[in-house]
């Protein structure tokens, strides 16, 4: 037989969704967020996004080329890491530090573990945690949004020479007759000055010169797109936000004077970005549905606790990193119960037909059930 037919193992059809399509759609959904971020902060933000993403891609390329990590450049996962990392950094973050963050994110956060799918921690957050420890001043220096000449002029700290301490933006801001405090994030303002931002400012980050980072409303919208097209799991963001809101609300109810309201907790800082894009990173979150709830709830709880009781204004990053570390354990204790192995054989309340027809009695059953067992071994007549 010369027919060139081939043998493959079933199934012979496959769904259209691939790793590339998932990653590409995440990138698409991040683009509006990035565009708005650039609109807020001007060319400094644009340069930051470009440099950080480029650093991630170059590092990924290096490790893929040397063969130490799985996957390839075209899978877009390094682009996601770069974009997310850039969005978590202050807009005026020195570019060379941003490049360091990108290199560390891919090298230590991803390649070290073996590449796509093997990383234990979210690579973008590993990069950010590194620069937070290495450059504590630069990462806490936020500049106000919607400066009048943001599209023509870089924030001075952006263009610091490599390995040099960036310029302090305060004199630059003073020259623009702006209060230096206007550059603080709402969380820092609340933590250190006891000033609370208004809801509309937080949600859209459109009004005033408040340094709120990417717009939470836009992130929610883009996240909803991803969840609707099932490129992201809807449970994790819901669990993160729900548990953060619940914890914050309990504390708020306990002492409204000392603790901010839950709405402020949800929409200030990076919680929305973290819940929508960081916590949902597939490789670092549990695969089991129950595990996703536990994991998300842990992040929400830890975020609020860190924000309230630690010296840091922001806690999302550490909360997610800790939950990443706990995720294999969470997965192990939340294995799904296989079909038919529940404690009780589960029966749904609203079924089309009753399991046992009530009108059959044992007598009727024995009357219609054959009495003898079929035994073809017996010699037939």
């Amino acid at each position: 037989m010369t027919a060139p037919i081939e043998i493959r193992s079933a199934p012979h059809v496959q769904a259209a969704k691939t790793v590339e399509t998932i990653m590409r759609n995440v990138v698409y959904s991040l683009l509006p967020i990035c565009a708005f971020y650039v609109f807020q902060y001007g060319i400094s933000a644009l340069a930051s996004i470009a440099v950080v993403t480029a650093a991630c891609l170059v590092t990924e390329r290096f490790f893929v080329r040397t063969g130490t990590q799985a996957g390839r450049l075209s899978d877009y996962s390094a682009v996601i890491t770069g974009l997310l990392l850039a969005l978590t950094l202050p807009p005026g973050f020195p570019l060379w530090m941003g490049a360091v963050a990108g290199i560390v994110a891919i090298a230590l956060g991803k390649a070290l573990f073996g590449g796509i799918g093997f990383n234990v921690f979210n690579p973008a957050l590993v990069g950010r945690a590194f620069v937070q420890a290495a450059f504590p001043t630069a990462i806490a220096t936020y500049t106000p949004s919607f400066l009048p000449d943001r599209f023509t002029e870089f924030i001075p700290s952006t263009l610091a020479w490599p390995l040099m301490i960036p310029a302090d933006p305060v004199p630059w801001l003073k020259a623009k007759s702006l209060d230096a405090l206007a550059g603080a994030t709402p969380l820092a303002k609340w933590k250190f000055d006891g000033v609370m931002a208004n809801a509309d400012e937080l949600l859209t980050s459109l009004s005033g010169h408040m340094a709120v980072g990417p717009s939470p409303a836009l992130i929610l919208l883009c996240g909803a797109y991803l969840a609707a097209r099932r490129f992201m799991d809807w449970r994790i963001p819901l669990a993160v936000l729900g548990s953060a809101a619940l914890t914050a609300w309990l504390l708020f109810a306990f002492d409204p004077a000392r603790y901010p309201n839950p709405f402020f907790m949800l929409f200030s800082g990076g919680l929305i970005l973290g819940a929508g894009y960081m916590a949902t990173d597939m490789a670092t979150s549990p695969v089991t549905p129950k595990g996703m709830w536990v994991y998300g709830a842990l992040i929400g709880l830890l975020t609020v606790v860190i924000r309230y009781y630690s010296g840091l204004p922001e806690g999302v990053m550490y909360a997610i990193l800790i939950a990443n570390a706990a995720s294999p354990l969470i997965e192990r204790i939340t294995q799904p119960v296989p079909f038919g192995r529940g404690v009780l054989a589960r029966v749904k309340k609203r079924a089309t037909y009753p399991l046992n027809p009530g009108y059959i009695s044992r007598e009727e059953a024995s009357a219609v059930t054959p009495k003898k067992r079929f035994l073809p071994k017996k010699p037939k007549k």
Binding site: I5, V19, G117, D233, M282, F339, G340, G342, R350, P376
Partner: protein
């Protein structure tokens, strides 16, 4: 569970929705001509292999028993055509191994019009008699598993059966043979259901049909009304269940109809039910009163590589090449035919040679061309990105992601003991959805085989 499932009220949890591609749903069943030579493999079903009861050189009549066994879990085979037994020995089988077969050459000029049978009046027969008659027909489950039907319908002494569930889901893409049988042979199906109810002692029958076959539902409901008008007193319902793969699995169908989870490792009889396929019961309803043997079945010949796709009534033992030639597979020897699959695209078996015969368990023949496979072949395989798609699609509620990682590490014992590998029925949902293109179900098949060998050793 997916978010929408909360609101839609799906039949069973998880599962997938592959594109249905039912190209042949509107076409009538046509008969394929008789080939001049048929090959009847002796091992066509689960259970003991029957032994030939004919000699080489013997003349056989169409429908005459040619192989049988006295074992309980075994059925006889019948001559698919009138002719002369040419050869008894090893012939290529669908699994790539050579299996013992009986080759019959048709008599030149034989019309093949008559079918040997022993008509009998079953109106007063007991359940035991009906089971015996079913055994005589050589009937096995025509849905694909090929489990002897008399064994399936016989109820153990302690158990009692109140419900006969008839599986008309046909959840596999492309296949339409059950659909066409329901539409065209509804009366036979009702007759077969009535025999099966008498054999099992069931008091009600529920036919589960996926709602992508509304015409079948209508025809069956009409057939039930007609049967009742003709004096049938049995309670038979037809239920349209939401379309989803793998609804044709009996566990999933029982879940969809009764909302009950079958205990793991158990049979439907534990819930007082017997599940049978529509094709099987329709064939029974036709064959039992005539006392004939199963010598032909309806096979869907379809796929992008077939010029004349359709549901064909095929003589058992017909070589696949003959079927494909007739259905217009353009130049099987040319490079554009790349894959021939027996069964559906989700669970069917790709075969390596076209001289294997159609057996009792073959429900479809699928032909894919080179360009149909190209998209899949060019796909890159990634490491598991732990997206959780497989966990959300596994109808058995397993964790294919973790199982796949354990399989890669060859931790087969751990897979079996802690992650319930034995519950997997290889529906292929996990591989279907995997964005990383990991051959999950293929790994599980290997793992299960290794565990079986370990258990046997």
């Amino acid at each position: 569970m997916k978010l929408v499932s909360y609101f839609r009220g799906e039949a069973f949890q998880r599962g997938v929705h592959p594109p249905s591609c039912k190209l042949t749903a509107e076409r009538k069943i046509r008969r394929l001509p008789f080939p001049d030579r048929v090959t009847v493999p002796l091992s066509q079903h689960i259970g003991k292999t029957p032994r030939p009861i004919v000699r080489v050189g013997q003349d056989v009549v169409r429908g005459q028993p040619i192989a049988r066994s006295d074992e309980w879990l075994s059925v006889p085979h019948h001559a698919p055509l009138s002719g002369i037994v040419e050869f008894i020995g090893l012939r290529p089988g669908m699994r790539g191994t050579w299996i013992e077969s009986i080759v019959i050459r048709a008599h030149r000029g034989a019309t093949q019009e008559d079918l040997w049978g022993r008509p009998r009046d079953l109106s007063q027969a007991t359940g035991q008699d009906i089971l015996q008659a079913i055994w005589d027909t050589g009937m096995v489950g025509l849905g694909g598993a090929a489990f002897p039907t008399h064994a399936k319908l016989s109820v153990p002494k302690q158990a009692r059966v109140h419900t006969l569930v008839v599986n008309g889901c046909e959840c596999e893409p492309y296949l339409t043979c059950d659909h066409r049988v329901m539409v065209e042979h509804a009366a036979d199906l009702i007759a077969g259901i009535r025999y099966a109810m008498r054999a099992t002692g069931a008091v009600r029958t529920i036919i589960g049909v996926e709602d992508n076959k509304p015409d079948a539902v209508l025809v069956l409901r009409q057939a039930i009304v007609d049967a009742a008008a003709a004096g049938a007193t049995e309670e038979i319902h037809v239920e349209a269940v939401p379309t989803k793969y793998p609804q044709g699995s009996e566990k999933m169908l029982i879940m969809a109809l009764f909302g009950a989870e079958m205990p793991a490792g158990g049979l439907p009889i534990a819930l007082g039910m017997v599940v049978s396929n529509v094709g099987t019961l329709a064939a029974l309803g036709h064959l039992l009163p005539l006392g004939q043997g199963l010598t032909e079945r309806v096979v869907t010949v379809t796929g992008p590589g077939v010029a004349k796709p359709g549901d064909y009534r095929v003589i058992l033992g017909t070589p696949l090449k003959f079927v494909l030639d007739y259905a217009g597979v353009p130049a099987v020897d040319a490079l554009d035919t790349r894959q021939v699959i027996l069964g559906g695209p989700m669970m069917g078996q790709a075969i390596g040679a076209l001289d294997v015969p159609i057996t009792k368990g073959v429900s479809g023949v699928l032909v894919f061309r080179r360009e149909d496979m190209q998209e899949r072949e060019s796909r890159q395989t990634y490491p598991c990105i732990k997206c959780g798609e497989c966990v959300e699609s596994c109808p058995m509620g397993l964790n294919p992601s973790t199982l796949g990682m354990l399989a890669a590490k060859r931790e087969y014992d751990l897979m079996g003991e802690q992650y319930f590998l034995g519950d997997c029925f290889e529906c292929g949902c996990c591989t279907y959805v995997c964005p990383s293109n990991i051959p999950l179900v293929q790994q599980f098949r290997v793992a299960k085989q290794i565990l079986r060998e370990k258990a046997a050793a």
